[in-house]
Amino acid sequence: MTFTSTTAVDLAAGIAAGDFSAREVTTAFLDRIAETDGELNAFLAVDTPGALATADAVDAARAAGEPLGPLAGVPVAVKDVITTEGLATTCGSRILEGWVPPYDATVTANLRRAGAVIIGKTNMDEFAMGSSTENSAFGPARNPWDTNLIPGGSSGGSAVAVAARQAPLSIGTDTGGSIRQPAAMTGVVGVKPTYGGVSRYGLVALASSLDQAGPFATTVADAAALHAVMAGHDPKDSTSIDAPVPPVVAAAANGDVTGMRIGVVKQLTGEGFQREVREHFQKSLDLLAAAGAEIVEVSCPHFEYALAAYYLILPSECSSNLAKFDAIRYGLRVGDDGERSVEQVMAMTREAGFGPEVKRRIMLGTYALSSGYYDAYYGQAQKVRTLIARDFAQAFEVADVLATPTAPTTAFPIGEKVDDPLSMYLQDIATIPANLAGVPGMSLPVGLDDKGLPVGLQFMAPAMADDRLYTTGAALEAAVGWEARP
């Protein structure tokens, strides 16, 4: 049996049944990482001893007849923005290079409780700022479909890890599309849950009102299995929603879209999108209609302002959140010669420790929040955010789920947009509205472009109706019959 081409659900079942051991499975993925990651650079850290120790503990628990967690023995790669006790967490930044967190994020703790094997930490755009993983201080991750291309971002390492079968599952975070866009670029399933559905405790914040962690997987059912384990109310996160986790696993198993109303967002269907992206989107709608869904058109007139609102709200929140990197309590300290003041040391440290995109956004946010501009920029952006949430509410009166292409293009060459921030920002034009409103979204692969690169489609559902993503996702997955591999 080739473990690296087996689904996570089947791996968990096989380990639980004693068909093979957690150690065999973990070793197969560690070997795969060793073979491929020199080129792909998806991992910033591989925890071989920790992973094998967890796997052995799972095997011992099974031998002793103890109950196993739902993901017992299944390797999971974790984006390096989520804290892991005893395992370095860098956020892709020099300023945190070598920092070993003294505590687990709730997501990490949930994985451990489920018996998952944390195999390593994945590469990312620095502090999750970017759409290509080129902003990592530790070199770009590469797209396994063509290693000259970006894998998307900011969770590019997590997307690559699953696409290249270095891990059956991985975790990313999504602030404006950072799970869904790299999922689209690498031909895997990626889900941003409802804001508040997954705890943010231990997730190093980019923009606190937008960030949400979620699963990457090769199938909709695998994504649901990981989603169910990650999610749930957490008293340590005051924005965590105190409600049951939506029934995502059951929805993924069902996949019946008969009578479901799928809304096509008029503003996000064509203009500016690559031809093959539009063609596969239309073809997918036809497949959903053939499966019994009703396709309706919805209008969300304020979505065209979402990108502008986002690039005021996000920098404002991040400039505040990143103030904590002050060279005092953790991370890099530069220039402390006993003479320089604390402020000089802070400024020298932040200059040396942050990359260009991080500095750009910190200054944008500082500007947008400064007195005299606050109302015109940040205040106005927050009002536009309200209007975007209203657009969603109206759309969900006539549609159960919304559908759009995930990203305007397929993967592009490394270096192409790196010094053209606006053109990079446009990658997230279809994914940002969901973050602004806090609703869940899923990207799944629906076809290949003329160059043989994956195209993604996005579903969005009302808050805490994440299960609908999995219903439509499973239906479309079955209809598309996706079998392409990098």
Partner: protein, 98 residues
């Protein structure tokens, strides 16, 4: 809205505690100007009577019972510090000599 000058960038960098190089000042002045030009589109939306939205979850004042929960030990809390002295964070000079 005014264009962003080099001096504006230098001012923002001071506020944000970033000691930018001369090259960076010029480069960021150009880029911030382009980005701010684009995001100004939000002003086209008539929204005078619209409530601002700071957060997608309509909850506030989340409380928990007032009971002791173990936190980090001093060793754990100091484990990532750049400099430590007497179980405390050692910081650079915070007062002027004069």
């Amino acid at each position: 809205m005014p264009a962003i000058s080099r001096d504006d960038v230098a001012h923002l960098a001071r506020l944000a505690r970033l000691e930018l190089t001369d090259d960076e000042l010029g480069h960021y002045a150009e880029q911030l100007d382009v980005i701010l030009g684009a995001v100004q589109r939000v002003s086209e939306v008539a929204a005078d009577d619209v409530e601002p939205m700071s957060h997608p979850v309509a909850i506030s004042n989340v409380f928990r019972p007032d009971r002791l929960i173990p936190g980090l030990t001093p060793e754990q809390a100091l484990s990532g510090a750049p400099a430590v002295e007497d179980e405390r964070f050692r910081v650079p000079r915070i007062l002027d000599e004069e």
